[in-house]
Amino acid sequence: MARNVFFTHGTRNEQFLQQNLVEEYIKMFGMDILYIPRQLISKDNVFNEEIQSQFDDSYLIEAYLENFDGFQGGGDLLTKFGIRQTDEVTLVISQQRFSDLISQFLLLDQDIEVGERPQEGDLIYFPLSSNYFEIKFVEHEEPFYQLGKNYTYKLKAELFEYSDEGGEFFAGDDELIDTGYTVQYYYLVTPGESASATPLLDGDVVSQGIITTNGSKYNFTPTVTVTGDGTGATAHAEMIVVNVGGSIPMSTAVLDPTVKDGKMVGLKILNGGAGYDVSRSTIDFTDPSSSGTKPVVVPTFDSNGTLIKVEITNEGSGYDSVERIVIDSGGSGYTTAAFDIESVPSGLSGSFQDGETVTGGTTGGTAMVADWNKSEGWLKLKSPTDDFQIGELLVGNTSGASITIHSYDAMATTDTKYSESVTFETLADDIIDFSEGNPFGIGT
């Protein structure tokens, strides 16, 4: 049986009026939100999951908050995985306004799955509490076909679970970063200073090196070249000076330390000396040039008081400037001479842009700039594709700015967020014998 033709169930003009009334209501009683569409870059076709998503754009639109007296959901929960916030919101937006303001742009983007309507998986930035909500369901039939048409989308959204998704929106957002997890920190605290020294001549032979500038921020022992009008003089720099003391030997021991990345990684006995008092003799070192600790070694002497073995139990830290120039060979024929000491890496130059990609000169790996500071000289990187190396030059792909990595700590944690990975590693060093290798741990 056909319906009564004398009663209309909505004409186009009535529908327009209804749509306009809805929009007016939302504009009066609603709030402005940012709508952030998900660009689905790649998908896993086996498990039917996203692999890579980008959130680069945002659109301002007004929305009515249905749960005006507070967030829905379970609130803040303490779980075995730390604190989980389970806030949920229900927002009502106008279908027409979505179409006018947002859809027309989304339809142009091939990475947007469904541009005609709000997508499940898209994000909403909620300005009242500065939260990111992920749309989990778009209800388009509430209210149900008034005057023969639907006028609103009801967006049911819950707080976003962040798993290092890409996009300019998140690039510089420190609050989204669990340190040591999605981000690795690389520092060059201040640009280093190159060392310099003046040679002293004894006749035509180079006899001594007087250091005029110790330099700073060396992560390697710089090479020393003797220049001048003579021939044959060679010298090397020492970042740490070793002193075997505590007793008076018949002949003095000569030790050659190797310093790398501020640590004394080797100590070679060139001459063990003789006549050291075994019970009194100790090996001491100069203080670190920057904040750090002295190395600790255990010497072994034979019955003649000759140093035969040195075991390094702690490599120390903070040795990054030149302490002494040792003349290996004085050469001959010098009337003037000078030292040419290898320069320190140049540090940070230029201006990076937040969110740009940097490329490593040695490894070829890339990462995204999360934050940087020129005066303090550090760079914070996000989502690296490789483990960058100390001494490696990182160059910004967009800005052309560069930084040489002086030091880094991939697991550095400057805050007390979820991760305890570093804590366990540090505590385990004291109690676990990993001499046979830790198949999982850091630094194996």
Binding site: D44, F47, E49, E50, I51, Q52, D76, L78, K80, F81, G82, I83, R84, Q85, E120, N131, Y132, K136, F137, E158, L159, E161, Y162, S163, D164, G166, E175, L176, D178, Y181, S247, I248, M250, G275, Y276, D277, V278, S279, S303, N304, G305, P384, T385, D386, K417, Y418, S419, E420, S421, F424, E425, A428, D430, I432, D433, F434, S435, F440, G441, I442
Partner: protein
Amino acid sequence: MLGNYTYNKVIRKCVIGFGTLFNNIEVRKETGGTTFQKMKVPLAYGPKQKFLARLEGQPELNKKVAITLPRISFELSGLSYDSSRKLSPITVDKVKDGKNVRQIYTPVPYNLDFSLSILSKTNDEALEIVEQIVPIFQPSYNITIKIIDDVNEYRDIPIVLNSLNYADEYEGNFDQRKLTTIDATFTVKAYIFGPTSVQKPIKKAKVEYDTGSPKVPVRRAQYIVEPVALRDKDSDGTGLTITASVNNKVSTLPVVDSTVFNIGDYIEINNEVMKVKTKPNDVSITVARGQNATTQAAHASGSVIDIITTADTALLESGDDFGFNEMTSFYG
């Protein structure tokens, strides 16, 4: 009755040892065979004091997102006695600890149950994490833990992977989140030790005996023997030096002041022990070189002279070489 305070932190060490196995798990995202992203998966011990969790996890009251993923969490879920590893409870381990010998009774074998949970956004990530863990446990993996600091006791502690439970909740209405979790249970075969006690070296032996017989008067004797230091132990010779260098042959040593020495004193210069024979004047002594099995060696001017005294004897430790001082007494 028990009251013998002990806390060797064995269980705590097992928690640390277990945790450190999983602190370097990584997740990589790839497209077309190229890695475009690497993430270290954060690990934490699950249980937390609630106020600390709130202060550290939400210092600004509000987080921008629900949670960051993936994450690994683990916790100690139970302790049970393992009778299959029981050993005789009266066996004593003795270990040298500096001057002393420490002794400790056989530990009691306990199994510690751990559960490890992995939360991830996608199946693939969860499986990526699992495949980094599972192959190492066949089904156990041993770690060597310094279980008692006092006695420097290292033990191989097997960690056994018992089971893996994989859950992927995806059915239902769209209001519910899809959740991929993996729960693994492990058994850590630990030993829990009791208190250690200290046994110092014996430094005096005394024997008393009768020498008489039925036909002669009784005569009682006492024999006491005590160790004597052969080498200087306390490096107390500050200010006593030789004033000129000597070779490895001469028997007359130039000294600052010979009156501090007594004839018969043993002295040590660098690594050589000598015996004072005479004092010709106030600034020299004559000695017998190379005493107590030490090697005669040259010594530089200014080398320190240590006198071997009863203070050095008091510092003797078990395991040191030492001489004897004996005394025999007779009583009518």
